[in-house]
């Protein structure tokens, strides 16, 4: 592994609200090397989007407290002055968002919006920037790019809009692209095309891709490494094959068992994770997942688990014994039910 391009260390983001302090991101660490793809998975409110926005300084305000470090090119994005960070936005690190229709300005032509992105970081002439915009639209696979340059976002289809967003994000050849739920607002067939495109661009341009999603399918398709987030923290981190083959955290088990499998029988029920994530304002002591965990032990409600190695490449934040978890998942993966897994994991007690 080469040196990390972007390295997030113990990042925390807190919002002061009328109801109290929301700990949206709570001590998150990850890093990414050039050309790699990291998937950050979690349900709504797990802090995955806030984390991405914070790297670009887009959550900065009087009501926000940001702690930790995010090292990029030898400098800390968290401590950086606004103006210096602005120059990194779109140039060093670019970001695309969930809903491409609302993310593009409705009153400006798509070409002009890309030209603006180019000229935000270079002295390129209008003509040169326009030529570059045309090239970018071609690169992201928009047919008849010359005509599309002068179209408005509402004249594009959903998939085309996200392609245009990607073209705009690529305009200054960023080293890192953060894609926040890039396919969630799109049709299934279009989703696959956009993921293929992101994958192709990452390989061709050698940029690092951080893909934020709630969808394990998206992760399986695009990511090299995965971080699973729950209630503002990373609860499990592993290479993608390892995570799908031998997950060590009960929350990840829940995620994996709640998606349908093509190989499974039609009668096999989908298993939702019961309950809801805890309040981010008054977080109970112990493991944040304890209330929803089928295998919860007494100590889980007292001590906070920390992310620690649970094998050669996987790290997991769970207090339950490692060997027990390993055999419990083997049982679940083979089609066993939760009760059987409980016996394996907590049998003695």
């Amino acid at each position: 592994m080469s040196t990390p391009l972007l390295s997030v260390e113990d990042l925390s983001v807190q919002f002061d609200t009328e109801d109290g302090v929301v700990r949206a991101v709570d001590g998150v660490s990850w890093s990414i090397e050039p050309g790699r793809a990291l998937g950050i998975v979690g349900e709504s409110g797990s802090g995955k989007t806030v984390g991405g926005l914070t790297l670009l300084g887009l959550t900065r305000s009087n009501n926000t407290t940001i702690a930790g470090r995010a090292m990029f090119g030898g400098e800390d994005l968290v401590a950086m002055q606004d103006e210096q960070l602005r120059q990194i936005r779109g140039k060093g690190i670019a970001m695309i968002f969930q809903d491409p229709l609302s993310s593009l300005h409705p009153f400006y032509r798509v070409g002009d919006q890309i030209v603006e992105a180019i000229q935000a970081h270079s002295e390129a002439s209008d003509k040169a920037a326009r030529a570059r915009a045309l090239e970018l639209l071609g690169l992201v696979g928009i047919p008849d790019p010359r005509a599309r340059l002068d179209a408005y976002p509402h004249e594009f289809s959903g998939g085309m809009r996200q392609r245009a967003m990607i073209a705009m994000a690529l305009s200054n050849e960023p080293k890192v692209l953060i894609a926040d739920e890039p396919t969630t607002a799109l049709d299934v067939t279009v989703q696959a095309q956009i993921l293929d495109l992101l994958d192709r661009l990452r390989r061709e341009l050698g940029m690092a891709l951080v893909i934020i999603t709630h969808d394990l399918g998206v992760v399986a398709e695009t990511a090299d490494d995965v971080a699973v987030m729950y209630a503002g923290r990373i609860v499990e981190k592993a290479p993608v094959e390892e995570l799908f083959a031998r997950p060590m955290h009960p929350y990840t088990w829940g995620l994996l068992r709640s998606i349908p499998r093509l190989t499974g029988s039609r009668e096999e029920p989908l298993l939702p994770i019961p309950g809801r994530p805890p309040s981010m304002i008054s977080r109970p002591p112990g493991c944040a997942f304890a209330d929803r965990c089928a295998y919860v032990a007494d100590e889980c409600r007292v001590a906070e688990p920390i992310l620690s190695p649970a094998g050669t490449t996987i790290a997991s934040a769970c207090l339950l014994p490692e060997t027990g978890r390993r055999s419990a998942w083997s049982g679940l993966a083979a089609g066993g039910d939760t009760d059987a897994a409980f016996k394996v994991l907590r049998g003695g007690k």
Binding site: Q87, L104, H105, A120, H121
Partner: protein
């Protein structure tokens, strides 16, 4: 677009006819003075009054009168005669137009510039002391009646009765063609008084819209591109938030050009508003018709202009 505009212009004509019919009907249904008697003067004999009644078709049924009125407009460009002033309505109205245009345009520039500036600053620096101060003042500005503000302004600054006599007061109007400096001096107070209420409304409107727009996803995109905050606010935020301002501005200006009645009366400015006010006081039928038609014309045209401009401002709007 061209077809749309042509259709709208045809509608304008129909609306204008409807407006004059309604004015006629209201004039006759509501109790008012006898126009023939007014025209004849105080010491006229019953015979003279009958002659006048006949001459101006006042003895004919309402429909006939309407017919003669429209016939006059279409064939001779004749909008009737003012009984009180003994002058053609068209001539009277046109002679008063410059004063009203002076009041309206000057005030419009003032309120547009100040309203937009205050709105943007308040939205960007929301909850700051500046924002709270300007928005409280704006509330006062919206609530204060124009005639009251006008009287206060005269009391404070008019060069005849004011505590600090520095500006032209009531009745100081000079046409710009005759005395440009005198014109400016006489216009400043009316402009400010008229602009305060509008600027207050515009700044609050823009502040609200801009705050909403600044929370939109495309603003986040603009920031993520690395644009300077100034560009994000002006080029992306204000550009999207300005459309309701344009609509309001067109309609307000259109309505004002038809006569800024209150301001013209308080400051004794010989504009359309005062002309209409006097015409109503004297039951001067054709003069009322003339001023109402002019006001209707400005409002309808302003609506048309606003709709056309809107299509250019928001590319998603297309008229078929």
């Amino acid at each position: 677009m061209t077809r749309y505009i042509i259709r709208r212009i045809l509608w304008t004509l129909i609306l204008m006819v409807a407006v004059s019919v309604m004015t006629f009907v209201i004039f006759y249904v509501l109790p008012s003075a006898d126009p023939a008697q007014l025209r004849a003067g105080r010491h006229a004999s019953p015979q003279q009054i009958e002659e006048i009644r006949h001459k101006y078709h006042l003895d004919r049924p309402l429909l006939d009168q309407l017919w003669f009125y429209f016939q006059g407009i279409v064939t001779r460009g004749d909008f009737g005669i003012s009984y009180v002033n003994d002058q053609p309505v068209a001539k009277l109205v046109f002679s008063r137009l410059p004063a009203t245009i002076s009041v309206a345009i000057g005030a419009a520039v003032l309120w547009l510039v100040s309203g937009i500036a205050i709105g943007i600053i308040s939205a960007v620096r929301r909850h700051s002391r500046l924002d709270r101060t300007t928005m409280s003042l704006a509330l006062v500005g919206i609530s204060a009646p124009v005639y009251w503000l006008g009287l206060v302004a005269l009391y404070l600054f008019a060069n005849d009765i004011g505590l600090i006599p520095i500006l032209g007061g009531s009745g100081s109007y000079r046409p710009i063609t005759v005395d440009p400096l005198g014109w400016l001096n006489s216009m400043i107070l009316p402009w400010i008084v008229l602009a305060i209420a509008f600027a207050a409304f515009y700044s609050r409107l823009l502040r609200g819209t801009l705050i909403e727009v600044m929370g939109e996803d495309y603003i986040r995109t603009a920031r993520a591109k690395g644009l300077p905050e100034r560009t994000v606010v002006m080029h992306h935020g204000v550009r999207a938030a300005i459309t309701p301002i344009v609509t309001a501005f067109g309609l307000d200006l259109g309505a004002l050009l038809g006569g800024a009645v209150l301001v013209e009366i308080v400051f004794n400015i010989p504009g359309i508003g005062r002309l209409a006010y006097d015409a109503i006081l004297h039951s001067d039928l054709f003069l009322i018709q003339g001023t109402v038609l002019l006001a209707a014309f400005f409002v309808i045209v302003a609506n048309l202009v606003v709709d056309v401009v809107y299509a250019y401002l928001d590319p998603r709007v297309r008229y078929e």
